[in-house]
Amino acid sequence: MSTYGVTGGGPVVHDPMTLPSDDNVNKYTFCVELKGSQWFLQKGKMIAYYGSIDFNGIGHGRLDRLVRTSFHSPLHASDWVVAEGSGKMLLADRAFDVNSYDLDEGNLTIRSGNLLAFQPSLSLKQSIVPGFLTLIGTGKFVAASNGPVVFMEPPIRVDPQALVGWADCPSPCHHYDHGYMTGLMGGLRAMTGLGGASGEEHQFEFVGAGTVLLQSSETLMAEQATGAVPHEPGVPGSGGAPGQHGQHGQQAGTPRLPGQLGDLQRRFGL
């Protein structure tokens, strides 16, 4: 569907008939065809539409049943709308690459900021990993990524910022590389902060069977609040306030190393 590399032609002009149905128009735009059906989409990601399409915020009384069956992230509902009607709708997100993925009785977990839209045949749930959402069932969804998405198979260790999501494999665990912190030079480095860190001390480690989705850069998209989890014993992350998850949480959550001078290093910006 790419219009690049077409020699001699100007920009391709689309009309409602030539727009693809549920496919990419180009790398950065996705076209959804609605025939009386419904799609969930994140607020502000629709850039244009043909036909008659209604956009209703979730929480609209009429949509209660739909929300009950396929939207299980109640505190996150204000960021999503339901599109229904008939016509064609174009989705895009800040010139990021957009792609659609088909799930067939599967599950896929994705960074909340990267998910643009999904069919109601899928059900959306908050992942146990803060900042991520899990889609379960059969259907299509659209996700954005900074650069094309690369699929890798476990075992693999991934930089937290490069991770888009994962499918069918167990949730990742944290992996810390502190090998170079040992020995005399390592001790000095840990004590003084001189020499710095490689920036790669912390990764997400994936094992087992499945697929890991990576984006090719470390620039993150804005974190979408996934809503707070209930304050219950045994619920990970329930101590934190919403919005504190994701990158901030990671930095604050780095464990104190033995021999580190309290927060002195951080105060000096080392």
Partner: protein, 216 residues
Amino acid sequence: MPFREINSKMIEATIAPGQRLFSQRGAMLAYKGEVSFTPNMQGGQGGIASMIGRRVAGEAAPLMTVEGSGTVLFGHGGHHVQVIELTGDTLYVEADRLLAFDGTLQQGTMFMGSQGGVMGMVRGQVTGQGLFTTTLKGRGSVAVMAHGGVIEVPITPQRPVHVDPQAYVAHHGDVRNKLSTALGWRDMVGRGSGEAFQLELSGSGAVYVQASEEKL
């Protein structure tokens, strides 16, 4: 070891025991196998003297040494990545544009004034390169970052190439460069064409130009 381009913004490097490569800190995206990332205080090769040299020159990019066995994916900040194969000649590039390079390449620092004297220093200021630039010499691969896509423009003795200093990324080969100015009274009254400074490269080699005038 060669870098494999996975897509325009991501490269894959295979590391075998005994080999090593240098990469910018924080540029690792993912890895398989047993690979270690060690912060490199010296900012590359050479002893303490070359480290001090780089610090003074402001060319001490935060690098890390990558060793072990496995495959590593590199990418940084959503920038486009260009892999350049060096076959014995010298690559001139700004240190913060380096994403990763072969450990066998010889790293050095060059004073801009040594090419073209005072005009070379002015050129460094205009291109945002400063007074010094990094050189890499030998046989191996270098991955260079650029804002927007990269175009390789060959330079032949008959055909010198003019480049916008802000779009200049790197060059290699036996190339002489000078800054040509086309300053006129229009520039003084603020009605210039906006292209008053141009980088003229002549000799034989290649220059890499990014499709953007934005710095990294």
